[in-house]
Symmetry: C2
Subunit: 516 residues, 2 copies
Amino acid sequence: MFESAELGHKLDKETYKKAVTALRADLLEAQFDLKENKKIPVVVLVSGQDGAGKGETINVLYEWMDPRFISTLAFSTPTDEERERPYMWRYWRALPPKGRVGIFAGSWYSGPIHDRIEGDMTQAQMDQRIDQINRFEAMLVNEGALVLKFWFHLTKDGQKRRLKALEKDPHTAWRVTKWNWDRLKTYDQLQVVVGHVLRMTNTPWAPWIIVEGEDDRYRSLTTGKIILDTIRQRLADPDKQVTPVAPPILPNIDGRDVISALDLTHALTKKQYESQLAKWQGRLSELVRDPRFKQRSVICVFEGSDAAGKGGSIRRVTASMDARNYQIVPIAAPTEEERAQPYMWRFWRHVPRVGRFTIFDRSWYGRVLVERVEGFCAEADWLRAYTEINDFEHELSEAGAIIIKFWLQVSKDEQLRRFKEREKIEFKRFKLTDEDWRNREKWDDYHQAVCDMVDRTSSGQAPWTLVEANDKGYARVKVIRTICERLEAALDATLPTTAATPAKGNCRGIKCGKKG
Amino acid sequence: MFESAELGHKLDKETYKKAVTALRADLLEAQFDLKENKKIPVVVLVSGQDGAGKGETINVLYEWMDPRFISTLAFSTPTDEERERPYMWRYWRALPPKGRVGIFAGSWYSGPIHDRIEGDMTQAQMDQRIDQINRFEAMLVNEGALVLKFWFHLTKDGQKRRLKALEKDPHTAWRVTKWNWDRLKTYDQLQVVVGHVLRMTNTPWAPWIIVEGEDDRYRSLTTGKIILDTIRQRLADPDKQVTPVAPPILPNIDGRDVISALDLTHALTKKQYESQLAKWQGRLSELVRDPRFKQRSVICVFEGSDAAGKGGSIRRVTASMDARNYQIVPIAAPTEEERAQPYMWRFWRHVPRVGRFTIFDRSWYGRVLVERVEGFCAEADWLRAYTEINDFEHELSEAGAIIIKFWLQVSKDEQLRRFKEREKIEFKRFKLTDEDWRNREKWDDYHQAVCDMVDRTSSGQAPWTLVEANDKGYARVKVIRTICERLEAALDATLPTTAATPAKGNCRGIKCGKKG
């Protein structure tokens, strides 16, 4: 893997100077085209051994390119806002928008490599993280990103020479600490870990580019040329996508499916409703005030047919809570800043810290529901969304979030009755839109999309709860009861101490574990 | 001040119920109109004594209104990302966008009141903060916000009764801690501080609304009614603004001004340029690596005539730095999310943490330059911008930021020469736009705008440095030298210990302290 980067590559000053003059102009032009094109974010990872010239090359790139449209993010110790969210949150918030270049000095690879060497992570845990990273990068590429992963390599002797040279120069001596020399001692161990990580993440969509690090001129020029060439290639074919590997949708041949199987006649009398509602609301009110809740967070997702009563259910849930501890995030059309990012970005930005409760009124499932049915995105996009959604929820759950997802289902007749009722009420907030009627015409398409969604995204950690919603009272009680039960189970599994990291599960099935 | 809130206001259940039914429908409708109107953010501060029912009333408001378009922010201990930025940063990031309601449970008032009672803040410091708050709220109102500040008041006996009642109810007992009872002992002291703060911040544009807190029904209904009435009033007259009090612009009657006074013949030979550039770049490279810099941050602003060489100067500055420690923020047209916020919001979001260097390529001064000259905003808006900008920079500087502002000036002839030169270069990044030529036609208007800007926003902490830029070398050296000198002076004034808070100055002059 590192063979070609141990040949002692070197470049003389004259050759370098000549090459750089041409490269600079070309890079600026490519960057300009990228900015005008507004479709491609460029994600550049600069990683490698200590002293391999990561900082030097980043600075040279800044000299060559227009620094106003590059951002460089160095990731040192996570802030507390970052620590209280999933591992990938800090990287999501740092992604460059379309048309810009984002350089990551230190990246999602730094954590696992460091932890593995320090012995804070088992091989199995690291492989899980690697798997997650591969999926994350595939998502980026599918979203149109150009992902360039550089590894600057040094031989052991080369590293020793580089550190000595840095130490000798008064301008750079401050950079070499005892820690760097200690790292040299663990060179072989690092190589083993890095070799494994690089091999496992050397995907067709985001391959590693290994560059010999010892000679400044060789390293920087090689890096610059690769950046130029790959940007040009992508600009020539901006819609290029990696074909997502998604299992085909099962045909429904016997008319049986999870939605048709629901018994929509479930109902409560007014008296039953009132007493059960009071009971579960009281229970919920205690649960969210449980001191163990401070280590967890809750993410509730409400999806459902139009007029299925999502709003009413949400209000019955929040009635038990303190407004200072929850947020309701209504999902509407994405904003301009959101459109310049991968699809999931606008949900990542609302991920709560621990101790908080976030309710999504509609959610990331829009991709596989309305966007699929209405053709708002390409088939390839919604097909890959199932995997991306599962990955997202897995990350959340790994970070201690309790994920509770509801699909509220009414019958076609009941929906019609409610539409007509709404038409009668003059109060405009409930005004029916043409869109509601249009959606109704696609009832069967939505039905199929919901079944596929449940099949593909109901996981052990994040099961769907299907709610029979023809009777509002029954639905509301079922919603609150489910939240209480999930919360209770999760809190019981939470240690009463302030252990920062929740248990890391490896259950990641996409199989349906639906409740109720 | 509190007299009307000590009358023992009380509401019977029947009256309350009837009033609430009407109020709910009206509130929902008002909220809907607000959302459609998209012009007015509603900022509701809910503050008051312990046990005065702040949480209860917020929860009731959620029941009455559509919770999807309200956000409630409770501010407890600041996170590290917040602590390393100016006091107001956490509130700026929490502002509701236009059309939404943001409830602040705890607000910019909590800090100073708490610190004053604990003795961590002198009266003078508190009055400075109050002054800042008044200016901040005036800005909000000028930007179209409806600012409602509620103070829920309790008499001393009333507070004792409320705490006892809360303690007796098993559902609320957890909320009453020893800390609350201790606070009761300091009731009188709190009243003195609160009385002062409320009086000083009882402005015509954001007056306090004092509501007796003891009776739940009375308090919530009063609050709800006031919210409804004020939203309705504002919707009836959405463009209402507080007239900003800004001193008139001085007429230029003798042709003398800071820009005309510049000697644009300053120049360096190539040799002088190279040796001086190397010298100051080396110096800068050491300064940004000084350990004391970890306690400070630098905010550099580059403004200037078109083709004055801002980009080239910025590149000479960043050449001395490590890309991992600085960000360049190019200011272009605001995004959709930025347009839904006060003008200064999009700069607040880029405020760096300590230890970082941020360069703004164009800046918040756009308001008093291009927006003023081209008529992109109302006169009232750019007139009040001077004050808002000074307030912003004062906050930054109070939090330890070193603010360095450059105006690069070329002569009209030199600009023409550069435009023509650019036209000859085919490389498209330097393509001249029609806008450049149009701006040139308004040369005199820009000239006047720059003079006014310097006069009004060059302060002791954030002086303008006017750079004679006909000679590029001279300009670049002056820029780097100025940064070095400012940085050096600031670091010398920084204690070598890790004292978290920088010295709080009270110098806030708007007088011109320009250098060079």
